[in-house]
Amino acid sequence: MTSWPKHFAIIKAAKRIKKEIEQAGLERLKFLAESNISIVGTYLNGCSPQTKAEARRDLTALLALGITPDLILEELGRQMPGLAPLMVDRDAYKKSELAALDRFLKEE
């Protein structure tokens, strides 16, 4: 069972991602997910180096707390029910999203 501080950190992280990607519009995100285009990967690769560094630092800090990307992705699905069936419930797409996050964290 996840402890309360961890739980809050997961919610906060998912809320932040939601706030960012929502700016692109839910319909667009749905279309990207249906087209098997990684939303997380596209967003992170498109960020400025400074934003990338911030995101990488935050994600690494979350990992240090034991919060894995799939936990965040699941919470994101709960916060964005319109996107959940396309983004989280599809195992292959979810795996590709997690792989994109993993690649991003391993980048220098």
């Binding site: 501080p5 692109a24 667009r28 990207l32 087209s35 285009i37 960020c47 400025s48």
Partner: protein
């Protein structure tokens, strides 16, 4: 001591909530009482908070772990035996931990209550003199305090510190290996001279002074042109009880520097004659200084003036005052020359005149200034707009995650998508072989039959797939 405390601190840092000493003891495989002791000491040092069965690391503790900051060792952390106190005083004296360990290894095999053995260890490990003195005095104090008062002064006498006074010149020395009655009371650290206890130093004061000056590369006292009297005078200006700084040495070197002449020869008095040659001044010879007025320079003085008409040159007579006119700058700080009055032209094209028949002139300078001001404002606005456009261009070209998503969407839409939506947007259409009606297949993937919506002819999956 500090290592165990760091271990406890590290174990606490991995806990999300307060834990008790028993948990930490089990994790560190040590006694609970030990852990409780370490926790209390860490709390006093401000690295942890808590009590009883709930202890947690605070910000200072986390910072110490992150930066690798050494946890200070207090007297409480050390044992009361000789070796522990020896090590503690070593750390207090500023000796490096490795050197303290090396000294401890040697010292614990000797008589740890003997100052002679202490000195031997210090010498063998080549401990710097200043650290050695601090370490020695602290350890000596500890040994004295743990000795019965009756034997204290006999076994561990305190070093005698005698005030050093400047001796008169020429007083004979009294001690082997010393000069001027001085004993070896001084040590040299870098370019600083420190006085230690009597007889515990390496140099006399004058020897230490020579060593420092040699290290600094300044002229040795004996090699220069200064006499011993100069040295004695210079030394009197210093306070031997205080450590000598570089500044003192520089002052001393200045005082001892030969006055004039090179190669150490004393300067000889002399004068420069009218031809510019140096002539030696004989003893008793008088020098008369006559002040002469400089003759007025011959020639003409020319004054050059900048006027609106151009540069004007005037010849000036000698002896007459030169008057410089400093006209106030025109209003508004403009550097423009005063404007020539502009004749006012009437509608008939002729110059206008007043009631006395004099032509009327208009001062159009304010108008020109206003027009200039407007032009300057316009240029500033245009420059601002240009800069803002540049900023906007830069902002648009800055990579942004959301824009990337939008671009990806546009590209995917242009290409018609690569996955499911493409299939949904243009589903495969089949034509009924019987009635030629076009229809699509069922949405489910595991369909077995497809029914024509018009003639209700049922087509099997095999038939459709063959088509």
């Amino acid at each position: 001591m500090a290592n165990q405390q760091i271990e406890v601190l590290r174990a606490l840092s991995s806990k999300e909530e307060g834990v008790g000493p028993s948990v930490l003891a089990a994790e560190l495989r040590t006694g609970e009482a030990n852990v409780r002791t370490y926790l209390n000491r860490l709390k006093k040092k401000g690295y942890v908070d808590g009590a009883g069965s709930s202890w947690f690391i605070n910000d200072a503790g986390r910072k110490a772990l992150e930066t690798g900051e050494a946890i200070p060792v207090t007297a409480e952390d050390t044992g009361q035996d000789e070796l522990s106190r020896f090590q503690y005083f070593g750390s207090l004296a500023g000796v490096e931990p490795n050197l303290i360990t090396a000294c401890s290894e040697l010292f614990q095999n000797l008589d740890m209550r003997s100052m002679d053995d202490f000195d031997r260890v210090m010498a063998e490990q080549n401990i710097p003199q200043t650290n050695r003195n601090r370490w020695r005095s602290n350890y000596l104090g500890y040994l004295r305090n743990t000795t019965p008062p009756a034997e204290r002064d006999k076994t561990y006498p305190l070093p005698k510190v005698q005030p050093v006074t400047a001796k008169p010149e020429g007083e004979p020395g009294s001690g082997s290996g010393t000069s001027g009655g001085e004993t070896l009371d001084y040590v040299v650290e870098g370019t600083e001279i420190h006085r230690v206890a009597e007889g515990y130093g390496d140099f006399t004061f004058s020897q230490a002074l020579k060593v420092v000056m040699a290290k600094r590369g300044t002229t040795s006292v004996g090699a220069g042109g200064s006499s011993l009297k100069d040295l004695a005078d210079a030394l009197r200006t210093l306070n031997p009880a205080q450590p000598i700084t570089v500044k003192d040495l520089l002052d001393l070197a200045d005082r001892l520097k030969p006055q004039g002449g090179g190669g150490g020869n004393p300067a000889q008095d002399g004068y420069i004659d009218q031809e510019g040659n140096w002539q030696p001044l004989l003893p008793g010879q008088r020098v008369v200084i006559i002040k002469k007025e400089a003759p007025p320079t011959s020639g003409k003085t020319v004054i050059v003036k900048q006027t609106p008409e151009g540069i004007v040159t005037e010849e000036h007579e000698a002896g007459r005052p030169i008057i410089i006119q400093t006209a106030p700058p025109p209003a508004g700080g403009s550097s423009m020359l005063p404007m020539t009055p502009f004749p006012v032209i009437g509608s008939d094209g002729k110059p206008m005149v007043d009631q006395d028949g004099h032509p009327v002139y208009a001062n159009i300078e304010p108008m020109i200034r206003w027009l200039g001001f407007q032009a300057e404002q316009r240029r500033a606005d245009e420059r601002h707009q240009g800069l803002m456009g540049l900023v906007q261009t830069v902002r648009e070209n800055v990579p942004d995650g959301v824009q990337a998503l939008v671009r990806a969407f546009e590209e995917a839409k242009t290409k018609g998508g690569t996955g499911t939506p493409k299939q949904e947007a243009s589903p495969q259409v089949y034509e009924c072989g019987a009635c030629k009606t076009r229809f699509t297949l069922p949405a489910t993937e595991d369909w077995v039959q497809a029914k024509c919506p018009k003639c209700s002819h049922i087509w099997s999956r095999e038939e459709v797939m063959k088509a």
